[in-house]
Symmetry: C2
Subunit: 250 residues, 2 copies
DNA sequence: TGAATAGTGTCTATAAGACAATATCCC
DNA sequence: GGGATATTGTCTTATAGACACTATTCA
């Protein structure tokens, strides 16, 4: 409950006494498709950097939280709702946008690939599913390339290659101790599929025996009692993520 | 190199077409003093929330990067320069500041305690060294209390208890795989002092044998060839951090 | 039957926890 | 010497990597 003095102060406050930056959110939407991580890019149809590719983004409204703004951008620009979405980092170099001072709060989200492909298909030639190519190992960090379907690096707007790098670094860091890996898989999956997800995210090969033991001992999986069907070999048992108290927000 | 079309667009751009939030930086300055982590708080002398305690902060200038703004705040409000400083998280709930929409980019910094105490002493009764009291274990996260010298919880402004919690969580997370622990110690230290730092940051006791082996095997320490002097027991060997390629920014 | 992957069992190497024994300082 | 912490060494346990072997499906 504000005091009388505080209320008087607020009534007299002049919000426009200092120049203010614009604040945007940009969303790195990540999905797993086959043997690579992919993301949704939007072609810029306006200046500045017209024709370049960027992550879907938009201005933060004056009465809207940052999380809400990121969810709204995802809903409006990709038709995607209700997915895992987490703040990444805030990019605020003074010259990152030539129009005016723009500070961007970057988010990343995890979806299944069907949703990503559907979003790109419905929006036409100004949207594209691009593939990450990470030029560094482990969690060293740094800019990341985004490739088109032919493996050619796309021309990316602003500092969005840095944003992509931050997203990959975060995803790698959270893989071991949060359930982010499951968000890239269908509800039921085999242990080998889960291992492939970890390998693709980390960019390394993993020991099969050790991965299997670790996962089964970790108490994060439960068996479905069913197995794969129609595969060219002995079918593997299907598991699903065990709903426990452990959170995505490690 | 912007194109002619881009330059024409930029000249015509009206930067004031949408209402903009204010953007501030707030800095959680952390030092180790005896058996606890402490931080510098500033008493608010103006509305809103006059009389409450907050982390030192200030508005981001229109031509200044976020990192530069955080360093400037630290320099101007605490007389501290050249320390480890890293972006934490951006807080943007619409109602977090009753004046107007204020989005705060939080930073944390690590200093030795002498610098923290000197800053508080030079600035008088409107600055205070407060102690963190963390009500959760591990990296679960959540708001953190700030105590005065008598152990009483201070009245903290805005969402700064959440900012404090985010700083502690980040520090705990980075302790194992970055050199942040060294930033809280003098240049030369014993293995037991290093262990105490880890225990205080993590809020748990650690196994001495295992900690010692792990540190000596980790290649991050080098021996100074000297030992403690004037202690009440067998003097321990002194070590210093080995300057390698490994970075604070894990 | 052969190709392919699933799943089990065992051996070894490494790291962590426990603890005993000895070392070195100050009082 | 007594008190306190440092340092070394050994034993046990848990986990990871390696690898052999069996199981089950489809073509």
């Amino acid at each position: 409950m504000p005091s009388t003095a505080e209320l008087a102060y607020l009534a007299a406050y002049d919000a426009s006494q200092f120049p203010r930056p614009s604040v945007t959110v940009d969303v790195v939407l990540i999905a797993l498709d086959g043997d690579a991580l992919r993301t949704l890019l939007v072609r810029r149809t306006e200046q500045p950097q017209k024709g370049r590719w960027s992550f879907p983004g938009g201005f933060v409204r004056i009465d809207e939280s940052l999380d809400d703004a990121a969810a709204r951008v995802l809903r409006d620009k990709a038709g995607i709702d209700g997915v895992f979405l987490e703040q990444l980092y805030t990019f605020g170099a003074p010259e990152r946008d030539p129009r005016t001072r723009v500070i961007s709060v970057a988010y990343y989200g995890l979806v299944d690939h069907a949703a990503l492909a559907a979003a790109a298909a419905s929006l036409g030639e100004h949207d594209r599913v691009a593939t990450f190519r990470v030029p560094w190992e482990g969690e060293r960090g740094g800019p990341v390339d985004l490739l088109d379907a032919h493996g050619k690096a796309l021309s990316v707007a602003f500092d969005h290659r840095d944003i992509a790098g931050t997203a990959i670094k975060r995803l790698r860091g959270k893989l071991a101790y949060t359930p982010v890996g499951f968000a890239l898989l269908p509800r039921e999956f085999t242990l080998l599929q889960l291992q492939r997800v970890h390998e693709i995210v980390l960019g390394t090969r993993l020991n099969k025996d050790s991965f299997r033991r670790r996962m089964l001992a970790s108490d994060t999986l439960e068996t479905t009692g069913t197995a794969q069907e129609g595969v060219d070999h002995r079918p593997a048992a299907l598991y699903r993520r065990r709903e426990t108290g452990d959170s995505f927000h490690g």
